[in-house]
């Protein structure tokens, strides 16, 4: 983790605990096994993966793939039956489970806000469990409400049933971040939200993550969400085995096997284009052709393809942010993107992330 990012994190979270808790920690699952008594096959036979500090790891897979189980093993909501889980190099089994959970943010699909407590009190839950002084809690709650773009004076004293679904979900995230945990677990956090609000919650969370840089384990069954949100994606198959663990770009370019290819869908080429922007494309020079229109260079290649097709396959002119012409986007140029990963943004992070 670079020191620049560390600096970023501490400035975003202000008064958070100094030292250990305020930085993100690396998470390592080491030969994790979970078998339920009475069932012949283990839910998770042997799972190993490492999430670097400050990255978002998506657990994705069909139902029965054990993705939620794997996540709940981390904060010991479900007891491990084999292997070990290390957070910052320290086994989660070392500490009492309540103490461990207070250090790990936890967000679930139904949010689980306490209906008998105000937004303020809900967010203050873990700090209170940790025995923070009153004024520090108050300050922290205010800071978090601002972080999730809710007005502390307006929303702070409301009860959960007085909020919209999206607001509830944001408060749930704020509550999980309250004690500035080094790790955040999110179980289908946006699964119960309608598609339009889901997209804006996703964008909101990515913007938030830019600032707080937590290590995040995020469970979803939606491969599009996985591609959009993840730094890395762990695709699990039925029976709880890991099919592939890689960046979104790698998975789309080189699916490990037929299961992965099938899971990410026949339109994986299109999905892959969504990860790149026109800045990644080797454009054709402008040599007298009459372009059908203009596109900003930040446009995703997928959107550029749609625009070219809408223009009847005629090329479009690509403009730099300063208005200068960068080149021509043609069908062939776009097609080349899929030719090799070398031409792509090496991080595999969707370019959309950088946009407001």
């Amino acid at each position: 983790m670079s020191s620049a990012l560390d600096h970023d994190a501490s400035s975003a979270t202000g008064t958070a605990t100094r030292g250990d808790a305020s930085t993100a920690l690396e998470l390592e699952l080491r030969h994790v096994q979970k078998a339920y008594p009475g069932s012949r096959q283990p839910a998770i036979p042997d799972l190993s993966l490492t999430v670097p500090a400050g990255e978002v790891c998506i657990l994705v897979g069909p139902s029965g793939s054990g993705k939620t189980t794997a996540m709940r093993l981390i904060n010991r909501m479900i007891p491990l039956t084999g292997g070990d889980i290390l957070l910052g190099g320290r086994s989660v089994l070392e500490r009492p489970e309540t103490e461990l959970r207070r250090e790990i943010g936890y967000v679930i699909q139904q949010v689980g806000l306490f209906p008998h407590q105000t937004v303020r009190d809900n967010i203050a839950t873990v700090p209170r469990l940790l025995g923070w002084p009153k004024d520090r809690i108050e300050h922290r709650v205010r800071e978090l409400l601002e972080l999730i773009s809710l007005d502390p004076d307006e929303v702070g004293d409301r009860y959960p049933h007085q909020l919209s679904g999206g607001q509830r979900q944001r408060v749930g995230v704020a509550r999980a971040l309250a004690a500035d945990p080094p790790l955040l677990l999110m179980d289908e956090p946006f699964g119960a939200i309608d598609p339009i609000n889901r997209a804006s919650l996703q964008d909101g969370f990515l913007a938030l993550q830019e600032r707080v840089r937590k290590t995040v384990v995020f469970v979803t069954h939606d491969i599009d969400e996985a591609i959009k949100m993840g730094d890395r994606i762990a695709i699990l198959r039925e029976g709880g085995t890991l099919a592939q663990y890689a960046t979104p770009a790698e998975i789309l370019d080189h699916p490990a096997d037929a299961f992965v290819a099938d899971f990410i869908g026949a339109d994986r080429a299109l999905k892959r284009l969504g990860l790149a922007s026109l800045a990644d494309v080797t454009l054709r020079p402008l040599n007298g052709d009459q372009p059908a229109g203009d596109l900003p260079v930040s446009t995703s290649v997928r959107d550029a393809l749609a625009a070219v097709l809408a223009a009847g396959g005629r090329p479009l002119r690509v403009l730099e942010p300063d208005g200068g012409v960068r080149g021509l986007a043609t069908l062939e140029a776009i097609g080349h993107v899929l030719g090799g990963a070398g031409e792509l943004d090496g991080t595999g992070r969707p370019p959309a992330r950088g946009q407001p």
């Binding site: 936890y106 679930i108 469990l129």
Partner: protein, 250 residues
């Protein structure tokens, strides 16, 4: 042993109660009108008010003890599911025994006899089913996602109970208390058969008086008013304790 019945003050007296005053001041009583305010005010401080106070004490003790027992049993059944069925079976059994029979059956039990203890034992017995069922249902109805979140944030069992489960069970618990209290107020009138106190005393005395009904009506009305007042108070308590549920139904 004395007859356990109708030993109430004034029972078996003259048709027109003798208040020790001169006759013409009690024209209403002599005419056997339905309700005589004169009698009511004359007997308020001597008979009705003390009976009302005793009644309140009878009910308070019964509901308090019943609540304590039910709460313990409900917490136990919440933690250990197998406890539920036996408790339900036993308290339903108690609830099924008609009040007259239960009061009488307790009299020969050593240490009880004709006493307040007998009355309280029977009254407590009737509160158990309602209170146990409501408290347990309240605890069980806490949404699973709320419990999951509480546990996931690192609450211990005790913290979950005090900070999440009990507060959220409050509406059901208070609903149980309302029902238990109101029905105990009504039932406690029968306690006068074994314990010579409470509003049951003037009620039985009034029943025994073939012509003069003011005492019966006055004591009966006080019983109903007491029940309504207790119910209203508990509604108020709930409003105070559960600010989050205000305006929720709207």
């Amino acid at each position: 042993m004395n007859p356990p019945v109708l030993i109430a003050a004034g029972g078996g007296g003259p048709i027109i109660p003798n208040f020790g005053g001169n006759g013409h001041a009690y024209a209403c009583e002599q005419a056997n009108r339905l309700f005589c305010w004169g009698w009511f005010s004359h007997n308020w401080s001597g008979t009705l008010w003390p009976a009302l106070r005793q009644h309140v004490v009878l009910v308070l003790i019964a509901v308090a003890i019943g609540f304590a027992i039910s709460m313990l049993l409900a917490l136990l059944a919440h933690r250990f599911r197998p406890v539920e069925q036996p408790v339900i079976a036993f308290t339903s059994f108690l609830y099924t025994i008609p009040s007259l029979a239960l009061f009488e059956l307790l009299i020969p039990v050593p240490g009880l006899g004709l006493s307040r203890a007998t009355a309280e034992v029977a009254l407590v017995a009737y509160t158990l089913l309602i209170l146990f069922r409501n408290i347990l249902a309240g605890l069980r109805n806490v949404p699973a996602d709320v419990l999951d979140a509480a546990r996931g944030m690192g609450m211990s069992h005790r913290q979950m109970l005090w900070r999440v489960e009990l507060p959220l069970a409050l509406p059901a618990i208070i609903a149980g208390l309302r029902i238990a209290t109101v029905s105990t107020v009504a039932l406690a009138t029968i306690a006068a058969l074994v314990d010579n106190e409470g509003l049951g005393v003037p009620i039985l005395s009034g029943i025994n008086d073939y012509y003069f009904k003011t005492e019966l009506i006055a004591a009966g009305a006080l019983t109903v008013l007491l029940a309504v007042a207790a119910d209203g108070m508990l509604v108020g308590v709930q409003r105070l304790l559960t600010p989050w549920s205000r305006g929720r139904a709207a």
